[in-house]
């Protein structure tokens, strides 16, 4: 407790004049509480004409792959095609909300459980996506384990285009609307993990996935259960 008191004491002493001035005008705490309550936005980017097109363009730029499915029943076939093209194993795990997709009919072995170190493929939904940067926003939870998008070498995210928002500020608003408070982990994912530590040369696949595939499925209510 001493360190806490000492540090706060030093801060208070250093700022005694500034705070006294603020208190004299009566604006002090009021300003702070108003800032927290209103959480004002900073300068915003120009909103894109087409959220979906913008998201796609930015996601591709960050080395994500993007595919479009007609409906959620088509997701397994599309994924199977993607995996065999890249000669990747047709085996992995998914979030519980996606367990009912016709995986085995497409020749895939997908188990509904959190990923472990041995799993090479993880299929998830997403809370929403951000057009400005081509980013996926993931909220952790019992039904939405964070490891599924992290441990496997391939991460596949099934995304409803209706859940694409323009900016990160819009994403925070959506989270505030649907949840009282942030979950343990909010993870923004913008493409496969990468490093440029050796000779500033960008290399994909550092400690996280080597590839990120976004499958866009209109009206994919099934993935939204996981929100």
């Amino acid at each position: 407790m001493n360190a806490r008191d000492n540090i706060l004491g030093k801060i208070r002493n250093a700022q005694v004049r500034t705070n006294a001035q603020a208190a004299a005008t009566g604006l002090h705490t009021e300003t702070i509480n108003r800032h927290l309550a209103q959480h004002p936005r900073g300068p915003q980017p120009v909103p894109p004409d087409n959220l979906l097109a913008c998201f796609k363009e930015r996601a591709l730029k960050l080395s994500s792959d993007v595919l479009q499915a007609a409906d959620y029943l088509e997701v397994p076939t599309l994924l199977m095609h993607y995996l065999s093209e890249k000669k990747l194993p047709a085996r992995g795990v998914c979030w519980p909300s996606l367990a009912e997709l016709p995986w085995s009919a497409a020749g895939l072995d997908i188990q509904s459980r959190p990923a472990n170190d041995q799993d090479l493929l993880g299929v998830t939904g997403a809370f929403c996506a951000i057009a400005e940067t081509g980013t996926l926003m993931m909220l952790s939870g019992t039904e939405t384990p964070a490891t599924t998008s992290l441990l496997p070498e391939t991460h596949v995210a099934v995304l409803d285009p209706c859940r694409i928002v323009a900016t990160m500020e819009d994403a925070w608003d959506l989270m505030r609307k649907e949840y009282k408070q942030p979950p343990r982990a909010v993870n923004f994912i913008s493409g496969p993990s990468r490093t440029a530590d050796i000779e500033q040369t960008v290399t994909l696949g550092a400690h996280g996935p080597y590839r990120v595939l976004v499958i866009l499925v209109p009206f994919a209510e099934i993935t939204n259960d996981a929100r």
Binding site: A3, N6, I7, K10, I11, R12, A14, Q15, R17, T18, N19, A22, H28, T29, I32, H35, L36, H39, P40, R41, G42, P43, Q44, P45, V46, L62, D117, E132, T135, S140, G141, T142, A146, T147, L150, M168, E169, W172, Q181, P182, R184, A185, V186, N187, F188, S190, G191, S193, R194, T195, A196, D197, I198, E199, Q200, T203, G205, A206, H207, G208
Partner: protein
């Protein structure tokens, strides 16, 4: 980390002659300076955004006590434990206590410059906790027993051949200089570390007061792994890192990754709030946050407070002609470049780093690129002023400045002196009109000749112009 800034001049001589380092530093310029300029224009109104970012930082710094208390309250409400540390040693003691409390034997660590301030790894090894750095750059440095030379790209001073040699020796695998292969090798070696570590240690790029969250930006995914898999997570950061709201942090993020690595956004931005719920499959059971002062509070309310706005993007060093030529190690502590030349003397004492405030040409590039508009050259100048006031300058420099000040206050004598000086230099320059040596500035004239003045002083030319 031990502060060796006192050896700055000797280090500079060594670094300037180091060919491998010079090659490495030129790569940094291409990638980071070029990268930044390629994406910074994506921001709709850059100057307006920089002003907003500086205002967010000032809002917090002007009322730091309140924001820290609000953060502590929110973080605690979500089950995190907030610790306060006055010094680096205090941080080490707190982490060692946490390790003992939960029976921690191994720790996986993601990059944290604040932990470098404390020398945390050595302190933990001493109490029997094995620490593995997991950021690729930091991992390479841990193998090589070296310190980082850049706050964003810690191993910028090494080339792939040196890293290949190091991996071949330590991993006992066939040597490769293929960068992708080297990365995969490190990934495979480090994966079990993440899985088996009892404790994850990270820094924090920001603390969000509104939600009590720790925010971490990473590219490799190791930051996510060390904060998701181990049963204990300890985040260590400076007391100045608080930001009011999620919106405020978003404004800063737009600038941070673009200024740092030339990315629109880093691969991962993780906002971590509280410990794992009972029903969750992943996340730490215990979440500890350590807030370090280490001299930061002494900057508050002073003429140096603006330095605390810093969000550690590294743009100032990437653009600094001094850093570009000598690299980070010469500066002698954790933080190099212009921000380090200010922070090192302020946190570690001006006496221990007397050369750093002078290791700048005051060209102003750092202030132009700083995302939070820190007037870095002004702060360097203020530190030089402090050195003068405290009598820390050599008698030669003091005498010269005093003589110049006296001359400047006596315009007639000033005019006469410059008149004689200019003519003397012209005479010495001969037909070539070049001076090969300058008395008192041998270091400068060893590398280049000084062209003689035009023959008349500015005032003489001005007078002539007036009469025409």
């Amino acid at each position: 980390m031990q502060n060796t800034s006192i050896n700055f001049k000797r280090q500079v001589t060594i670094k300037l002659a180091d060919v491998r380092l010079q090659n490495a530093l030129s790569r940094l310029q291409t990638r980071f300076v070029g990268g930044r300029s390629a994406v910074i224009g994506e921001i709709n109104d850059l100057q307006e955004t920089r002003t907003a970012a500086a205002a967010i930082r000032d809002l917090v710094l002007n009322d730091l006590e309140h924001w820290l208390l609000h953060f502590e309250q929110q973080a605690t409400a979500r089950g995190a434990v907030v610790h306060w540390a006055e010094t680096g040693d205090d941080v080490n003691r707190i982490v060692a206590d946490i390790a003992a409390q939960y029976g921690v034997r191994t720790a996986a660590k993601s990059k944290s410059m604040v932990s470098e301030e404390c020398g945390l790894n050595d302190a933990l090894e001493q109490v029997g906790v094995k620490v593995m750095e997991t950021d690729l750059g930091e991992y390479i440095l841990q193998l090589a027993h070296e310190a980082p030379s850049h706050i964003v790209a810690p191993v910028v001073h090494k080339n792939k051949e040196e890293i290949a040699d190091l991996f071949a020796e330590k991993h006992r695998k066939p040597r490769t200089t293929d960068i992708a292969e080297l990365c995969r090798e490190a990934r495979e070696i480090l994966r079990p570390t993440f899985i088996n570590a009892d404790m994850g240690i990270s820094g924090a790029n920001f603390l969000v007061a509104e939600t009590g969250s720790v925010l971490i930006v990473t590219n490799e995914g190791n930051g996510r792994l060390v904060t998701t898999l181990p049963r204990v997570h300890v985040a260590i950061t400076g007391i100045e890192k608080v930001v009011p709201t999620l919106e405020d942090v978003t404004t800063l993020l737009r600038l941070l990754s673009r200024s740092a690595t030339g990315q629109s956004i880093t691969n991962y931005v993780s906002v971590l709030t509280g410990k794992k719920d009972h029903a969750d499959h992943d996340g730490p059971e215990h979440f500890h946050i350590i807030l370090l002062d280490n001299g930061r509070s002494s900057l508050l309310g002073s003429e140096m407070q603006e330095m605390l706005r810093c969000i550690r993007c590294g743009a100032c060093m990437n653009h600094c002609p001094v850093y570009q030529n000598i690299g980070g190690h010469a500066y002698g502590w954790v933080y190099p470049g212009p921000m380090g030349s200010i922070l090192t003397p302020l946190l570690g004492g001006l006496e221990a780093a007397p050369d750093l405030p002078n290791a700048s040409t005051l060209c102003g590039a750092c202030a132009v690129v700083c995302p939070v508009k820190i007037p870095l050259p002004d702060l360097l100048r203020k530190l030089r002023q402090r050195q003068m006031d405290r009598g820390m300058k050599s008698w030669q420099e003091t005498l010269m400045l005093k003589a110049w000040a006296w001359l400047a206050l006596h315009p007639m004598i000033y005019a006469l002196t410059t008149k004689i000086g200019v003519r003397l230099m012209c005479l010495m320059g001969g037909k070539e009109k070049l001076l090969h040596t300058l008395p008192g500035a041998r270091g400068w004239s060893d590398g280049r000749d000084f062209p003689v003045p035009a023959g008349l002083t500015f005032r003489e030319l001005y007078q002539q112009g007036k009469h025409q």
